[in-house]
Amino acid sequence: MSFEILLSNAAALVVVVPLLGGAIAMLLGSSRLAWSWSLICALATFSLSLVLLSGVLSGENISYEMGAWVSPLGILFEIDALNVLLITLVSAMGLLALLYGLPTIDQEIDRHKHAMFFGTFLICVAGLIGVSITGDAFNVFVFLEVSSISTYVLVAMGSKQNRQALTASFNYLILGTIGATFFVIGVGLLYMATGTLNMVDISRVLAETGSDRVVRAAFAFIVIGLGLKIAMFPLHTWLPNAYSFSPSMIGVFLASTATKVALYMLIRFLYTVFSAGQSFETAMFDYVLAPMAVTAMIVCSVQASFQSDVRRLLAYSSVAQIGYMLLGLSMGTVAGLAAGLIHLFNHALMKGALFMAVGIAGLGLGVVRISEMRGLGKTMPLTAAGLTIAGLSLMGVPLTAGFISKYYLVIAALENGWWWAVVAIVVSSVLAIFYVGRMIEVMYLQEPPKTADDAVVTVRSPILPLVALYVLVIANVWFFFDPSLPMGLANTAANELIGGAGS
């Protein structure tokens, strides 16, 4: 009986568990205790998200009224194919990042701060899941800030390794807060125009009353605000530093989730709240989002090619990859949106794996720059192999998940008749060959560093990070052969979003 209660409240618990768990973790003084507790919480969160996932896969959307307040007055948690993908992704990545994190954190952060660190991390997870799950526009802001503030703290924790983490975090804080405030202004204007905060309700009212200038202003504010959080080109300047100076575990987690969740919010607002097809929105798709996406794909890939710091390289590549997703959703078609969502999912897998592999290399050999990765194929063969496979996935080589997302993106672009987008995808993929190829070349072709007696330095990688890495690497290959899970969800989501608005 009590188990059923657990299940029926899964939607609330998936946020509450990490949120309270985080607070408790902070109180546990010992590093190992806090880590174990966090792992249990993350595992519980992941299980709950699986419960939600199976619920949605069986064809039912779940809605959960917080405190049993009736919609649209109360805060509603709504779960459909779109956000269950995100929730599962965030909770899974949270779990993997924790699994991965222990040895790296030991090295990167003073021991007495560990409990705080893991606590903050759980709260960040809670915030991100909260953003994905809620159906209330203002609630989004609250959860967004819960996750963002904890992210600022987490990024700053990298200061033991490199003091630039502090400035990176500060810049992130300033820009993130501006973004959040823009978002709040937008939500406020929407509330002014519609008198409600429930997303579905806003869209209903908007459909009845039509748009006026206030709505358009709200739209602009929200897009810019979320654009900052997404690191939409050219609002991405905070991202490379924040990713590359944070502790490696946080780099892994942020790269695979944070911008994705913000992107999800953008999709939610573009397609659910402002129903697609309004003239100002179409104009923004064609003249703002799509060109920005294409520019990001190319410019940031070029920038990535010139980085000497491995994690900065990956960070710039992330901005470029976000361009792919934005391109997908700016097409405004079911196929385009679905392709964007698939890429969102796949990119989390590959970037997570890449950051993990680089982190492991950093743990063993202190690798920061690409030149320091020399001979990694000999010194840390497993890590290097994982990095290579994930890198191939980033290029979009068949047999990896990256191919699937690019394939659908190209098809969607062709359906739309956007030839220039196809060209941009191709150019960006070729650039990806360069920057991934640089890493692979250094790893396998250059001689590894030698010890004094001319023996090759061999490093035993700790087992837990490798396990986490290989879960992701295998996922990268697995979702080529069986992409039905993300594809099914993405297609359902895209159909719901666009079909619901179009009819």
Binding site: F138, V142, R163, Q164, T167, F170, L173, M192, G195
Partner: protein, 148 residues
């Protein structure tokens, strides 16, 4: 609002940047609060709590449907003046309390952001000995040159 944003962008002093952010956020809070004002309405304070509670209770006793019916009326009223809350039980118009609640939350968020920001500034001061952005960039550049 724009003053705050301008300060954030223009100044190189990290504390002043935070001040700018504060200014920016506060002005947004005021925007929200201004929304809630309904001309000629009372402040959203229930004067006779016991009576109100009874009314709700009796409504609840009648049937759950009645409450739903009452709630269903709300959109009709808000359609006339979207920013008002009309209490169908009391028959008086209140100013909208919701923005206040929202802003209360937002203030908490703002304070938390400010706290984290200030903590970061303290740490930056410890690490670099300055809180001027240009000086930090210089220090970083020098470190880079020395390293290579």
């Amino acid at each position: 609002m724009m003053t705050g944003l301008y300060v954030v962008i223009s100044t190189g002093n990290l504390v002043k940047k935070l001040v700018g952010i504060g200014l920016f956020q506060t002005s947004v809070f005021q925007l929200y609060i201004s929304l809630s004002k309904v001309r000629g309405a009372q402040p959203p304070i229930i004067e006779k709590p016991a009576k109100y509670g009874d009314a709700v209770k009796s409504a609840g006793e009648k049937s759950a449907e009645t409450v739903t019916d009452l709630l269903a009326k709300i959109p009709e009223v808000t359609a006339l003046d979207p920013a008002s809350v009309y209490d169908p039980l009391m028959g008086v118009a209140y100013s909208n309390p919701l923005p206040h609640v929202l802003i209360l939350t937002a203030i908490v968020v703002g304070v938390a952001t400010l706290a984290v920001g200030l903590a970061l500034v303290v740490r930056i001061r410890e690490a670099y000995g300055t809180i001027e952005e240009d000086a930090i960039d210089d220090a970083e550049y020098k470190a880079e040159v020395n390293a290579s």
